[in-house]
Symmetry: C2
Subunit: 437 residues, 2 copies
């Protein structure tokens, strides 16, 4: 049994939050002065600012600048406890969570485990593609990209050279678009200097999107401009296309075309990451947990789910809200209020999603933004959108130190046309058969 000690009243109800993503952290913060014990469980000791993972992968930022230790975030919150562990299962009958380091009881349980990469059951793809959902993924991708170029210097033939120098990104959502843009900046400004011995023009960046437009869900103007920018940067965009199979060397498109690549980046979908122990009726397709308008898991009194792992279906959102930061943060915020109300036997307030819009950056001076301000839609593309994108991301980063360091990196990169963190440090995709093994 995991025990907690400290200087607040340990007889207060225990709110156990599984997962410290946007939703979990927001909820824990908003409970700061509530008469509860807030217990956060996470398998990492840090919160990840996921929207900038692609900049880690493309050597623009270092990992430490977008992650913050939970203990630092909550250092002044007296009713906060943290345990570094993985949750194995929950037992709703006994109000009990089983973790790798022991069990603990809860009075209120909040599942905020987020989403993980969805390969839609394609085992071969899962084994050979690189995902981009965690710091670990992003570092693996960075190391792989850089090792590819180092190995390309020793390529034995043209096929091996292409396999190492060509990239395929599957999925034309914000992550895919931002990655393709950042990779093309590396190709234009950084790699020609770093690898004078290679003909960097040979490097192909392919972006494969199943639908007929990029950034599905954004305005038509945003989609069209994103496509235009990417094509201007020399990214090969394959619309209405999909990768049928990938064995680690050759991506075969549904149309039969083949692309030789050692690096296929999969950003084509996510699936909820629930915890064993809920009854099957609580689950929806896509592994999301069915919740009511209070984020309460269907059929339970004191179990809640927020963020990517939760699906609150409504007329406006028949499959639940988009799996991005804003719904998670807003649900965490409201749930903090509702938990207080529950404790005081007051009626709960239903969730109302305030869509603030969406954005994607393609490269220096180029972004697309659909904003909602006072319920009005504004759509803008280009330099102004890029400034807004930077501003919004900067202020959203959790710690003051990280905000400064990201800003500094961006300023240096902007004026030097450089991406300074091109370090091969840690895991990379297996380079079997290539020279640097």
């Amino acid at each position: 049994m995991i025990e907690f000690s400290g200087n607040t009243d340990t007889s207060q109800p225990k709110v156990v939050i599984i997962g410290g993503g946007f939703g979990g952290v927001e909820l824990a913060k908003r409970l700061a002065d509530a008469p509860v014990q807030v217990i956060l469980l996470d398998k990492h000791n840090y919160h990840t600012f996921q929207p900038l993972l692609y900049q880690i992968a493309t050597s623009g930022l270092d990992s430490a600048s977008i992650i913050s230790p939970f203990r630092k975030i909550f250092e002044n919150q007296k009713n906060f406890w943290f345990r570094l562990t993985e949750v194995l299962s929950i037992d709703t009958e006994h109000k009990h969570v089983k973790t790798k380091i022991g069990s603990l009881n809860y009075d209120y349980l909040v599942i905020a485990t987020g989403a993980e990469t969805n390969y839609f059951g394609d085992q071969q793809m899962a084994q050979n593609a690189i995902a981009i959902k965690s710091i670990d993924d992003a570092l693996t991708l960075r190391n792989t990209i850089l090792c590819n170029l180092e190995n390309a210097l020793q390529a034995k033939d043209e096929e091996q050279l292409n396999t190492l120098m060509d990239f395929v990104i599957v999925g034309g959502g914000p992550t895919g678009v931002e990655l393709a843009g950042a990779l093309s900046e590396l190709r234009k400004h950084v790699f020609p200097k770093d690898y004078r011995e290679l003909n960097i023009k040979q490097m192909d960046i392919n972006l494969v999107q199943s639908g007929n437009q990029l950034l599905k869900g954004m305005s038509e103007g945003a989609s069209r401009k994103a496509l235009e920018y990417l094509q201007r940067y020399g990214v090969k965009v394959w619309l209405n296309s999909r990768v049928k199979s990938y064995d680690g060397r050759t991506a075969i498109l549904a149309s039969g075309e083949e692309i030789k690549t050692h690096t296929l980046i999969w950003s084509a979908g996510v699936t909820g990451a629930p915890i064993p122990g809920l009854r099957p009726e609580s689950m929806l397709p896509g592994n999301r947990i069915k919740v009511d308008e209070y984020n309460r898991v269907a059929g339970y009194e004191n179990v809640f789910a927020i963020g990517d792992v939760a699906a609150m279906t409504s007329e406006a959102y028949p499959y639940g809200h988009p799996q991005v930061a804003q719904p998670a943060i807003q649900q965490g915020n409201l749930l903090a209020k509702n938990l207080r109300r529950l404790i005081h036997n007051e009626s709960l307030m239903p969730f109302n999603y305030h869509d603030k819009g969406s954005m994607a950056t393609i490269g220096r001076n180029h972004a697309v933004a659909d904003l909602k301000v006072f319920k009005k839609n504004y759509s803008t593309q280009g330099f102004f959108a890029w400034l807004i994108w930077m501003f919004i991301h900067l202020i959203s980063i959790i710690s003051f130190r990280n905000r400064l360091i990201v800003l500094l990196n961006w300023i240096v990169s902007y004026f030097s046309y450089d991406k300074g963190v091109r370090l091969i440090l840690g895991k990379k995709k297996d380079h079997a058969g290539f020279s640097n093994d």
Copy 2:
């Protein structure tokens, strides 16, 4: 065979440098406009600023802020080539270097492989201690320290608690002293907030030094002050003492005393890291390569060694120069001149070490410095020494971006009393039997 292409004359003599530490990088830079091909081989794609490794290990700085990619450092140097590989052996008869990715010929070979941790043949120690000679070591140490405290929250008994919370540092040179100081800052300012559930006062920091003073080789004032500062910070300094054995749980001192610790940090000695292929007569005790006053390896015409791996013995330095940055940099600098002279059939200039002094920082506002300015000795301790220490280290860091980021981190840390990079990310020492496995 490794081949090189590029826009300079590939018929020029090849200078092959093995290792991109302080010496190797200085030499390569100084050969920028020499009529040679400069080829650098290293098993990492980045240069490490070793003097700040201890700050990586103690969450003060992130790894990326003290390492710089070689390709970035040399991006404007036309006669520079880099290969990411490990050298397996050299064949001086055929002027040939064998690497993991193929072989290459040289006209001049420079061995700049540095030094590695010396456990003096103690296999058990090598297996259980943590070294601090590379980024990988420093990250392993950081992850281990932080995991220890996370695990301490779940300790089953007092002995396990002590094993996790107590630290032993072996070796009272600059690294050991700086580590002990930084750890005691974590204990004082950071851990009490992060781990309110633990009694952080229980955390013991032991520094074991075989001789009767710390910072051997520095002035008596510096040694005495360093001891005084550390004791004021609550570090247990064991002088005239040594660790006889360590099985991963218990360090046994020569005096018979036992310290339970999961974390023993070994900074008690280094040994040269030479490459197979030199004849035995070229080697000195401590695995260093015997070189003449031109850094030429004894018995060879065109093989040189510089930095930690080289030993240039003289009356003033009967065992060679100290294995620190300055001799390596100065030897690299001179060798660049001498290689030009060799090519032009001019006589070589002998090496003359300009000792600029040494420094160590113990904690905020506290450092000790012995400086040599215009051949005069100045010794200072305290705040002024600490300012000098920071200034010298800052200007010595290679890239502009890193210099800014380190400065920014130091400023934020200074005013917040915080060390922000306490992230568990990557390898750690095996916690067999402890809770978080």
